[in-house]
């Protein structure tokens, strides 16, 4: 029996590192010269590469409920937002540090599942856990700080969009919001199946588009990029603000996830695809003349890259062209994903 008291000390971080290492060294470029166990990790020189650094917090009652999320999936999702951030910059994720606040009531079995989940996601994306900190807390929270690498000048910023660019998204949207709706209504993974289970899984275990982001950066196809953590409407607004641009989105062209349609119906699913959060797909722009290249890349990656509209002059605002042929300011469609109310 592993007692939580031991787990909540350095043991928890060590356990994840051990689990992750079992499958061999990380593939990332920033090799750990010295990992866990000293005052700081030492990472090998990155030469002429730039470092990328991002941090993301997952807190019980704000970003998840542990009653909804199996420990394994929560552990995987702990890394997802940061992996998605590095992907959205066109970089390679390399090394991370993890901080965890554990309530004393945490079930040790849940903590072990959590450790396995973090380790499996780390292995899968070739990132190396090089340090961490843990403490007791009133409610569970996890924080990741992830380092990545990218060639100088190759980072894909939010600010690179120009009028005339095509606007694209990876994958399909709205499943995560549909899954959240089901969880809020009391459905649970393991007690449902088919499209409903798939939607819940899309919420609890979204797929960060690490390879797609990297290829869109390396090929220089993406002129501007952001990941969809807070919903298309809100994240597109951020991309446009950074680029000093406007956008026209054709609602018909938005790739709505079939699970969202099955769960919510066509109308609400279309809305979820526009304003639902946590799909962790990538939103990017590409120069009009690169449209053919984007289509070829999609075929090579076997991942939909849907052209959903285009970048226009800032003064035209950010609008959605509906199926009925009317233009709506995207702000009228809600401000994107809202975290469910905190108990805090």
């Amino acid at each position: 029996m592993t007692r939580l008291a031991r787990l909540t000390e350095q043991g928890f971080i060590d356990r994840i590192a051990r689990l992750a290492r079992r499958a061999g060294p990380a593939r990332g470029g920033l090799g750990a010269v010295l990992g866990i166990g000293d005052d700081a990790a030492v990472l090998s020189p990155s030469g002429r590469l730039q470092s990328l650094l991002t941090t993301d917090l997952l807190a019980e009652g704000i970003h998840f409920r542990s009653a909804w999320a199996p420990g394994l999936l929560l552990g995987r999702k702990t890394l997802t937002a940061s992996l998605s951030d590095i992907a959205a910059m066109g970089g390679v994720p390399c090394s991370f540090v993890l901080s965890v606040g554990f309530p004393r009531r945490t079930d040790p079995a849940y903590a072990l599942q959590l450790a396995s989940g973090v380790a499996s996601q780390a292995r899968r994306f070739g990132v190396d856990l090089v340090g961490g900190d843990t403490c007791a807390a009133r409610s569970l929270f996890l924080n990741v700080a992830l380092l990545g690498l990218v060639e100088p000048g190759r980072e894909v910023r939010r600010s690179g969009a120009r009028s005339g660019d095509g606007l694209y998204v990876t994958g399909r949207l709205g499943a995560s919001a549909a899954g959240l709706r089901l969880l809020e209504a009391g459905e649970r993974l393991g007690r449902t199946s088919g499209a409903r289970a798939a939607a819940i899984r899309a919420h609890l275990d979204p797929e960060p588009r690490v390879i797609a982001g990297r290829l869109l950066g390396l090929t220089r196809l993406a002129a501007a990029m952001i990941d969809l953590s807070d919903g298309l409407a809100l994240d597109l607004t951020r991309l446009c603000a950074a680029s000093g641009a406007g956008a026209v989105v054709e609602q018909e062209a938005i790739p709505v996830a079939p699970q969202a349609v099955a769960v919510l119906g066509a109308r609400a699913a279309a809305r979820a695809a526009l304003t639902g959060g946590e799909d962790y797909e990538l939103l990017f722009t590409a120069r009009a003349e690169h449209h053919g290249h984007v289509r070829r890349l999609a075929r090579r990656m076997q991942l939909p890259l849907s052209r959903i509209g285009q970048i226009v002059a800032r003064r035209r605002g950010i609008v959605v062209l509906t199926r009925s042929g009317r233009y709506h300011p995207i702000g009228d469609l809600g401000t994107g994903f809202r975290h469910f109310p905190a108990d805090a």
Copy 2:
């Protein structure tokens, strides 16, 4: 009136970055090509330098009580543990990301003071806030992940001590533990003065030995180094374990902080110097033939570097030679600093 609702969003992180930037760009080597506002920060290539990465969590009820800690000092201390970690590796601290969990009841004025404190410490040590995340939480917590740089092979590990090395500490020990004792007994900064106020200040606003750590690394005087976050007894045990060595500490030679003596009396102060935590001084070893160099460095830095004993063979254990000429295993003196009981 700044509302906390706004502060707890990106505004809090932005505010710190703005406050910190007011005094000009950070001095650290890892210049931010792109700071806050994109999916990840982009840091300029570090050439042949190694990166150092560390993370530290500060949680209400575990590491601090906000009723005891003015926001400004808590903000400063938020960076201290990580700065001290980079110092203990002999590195230069450069860039950090900050995550904050705010209870909804947080006084906005307190949050602003907190922001100022983080910013002032960042400016003072030339580190750059390049990203962050915030959310609502049941109790206040802050997490820093700090990146530093160090020349390849020049990092000072815990494992570098050899039998015969002199054992040294920077500064004086025990004041932080004395200050914690006063806070627990109900004394507060601003309602006390003299040595008592100085002890409380040592606890709430300890000084990370960034310059000393860097010089001890650069000059190659330190063979092994660790920072004293959990008390001399426990942190020396860690250094010895990593080095596969034992140590003899002469209790008489331990530099006890005069504030600790004034608050606790000589006997308890000597004990606090051995087992009290959060002094954030550096513990290091140097080859016997370098003793003169260490003394000269101390004079140049105007910082005491006290020789408190020496490294011996592992089989001799880790012992304290008391004033009465007896040897005590250091483990008998308590397991170092214990966080005060969590409310969690």
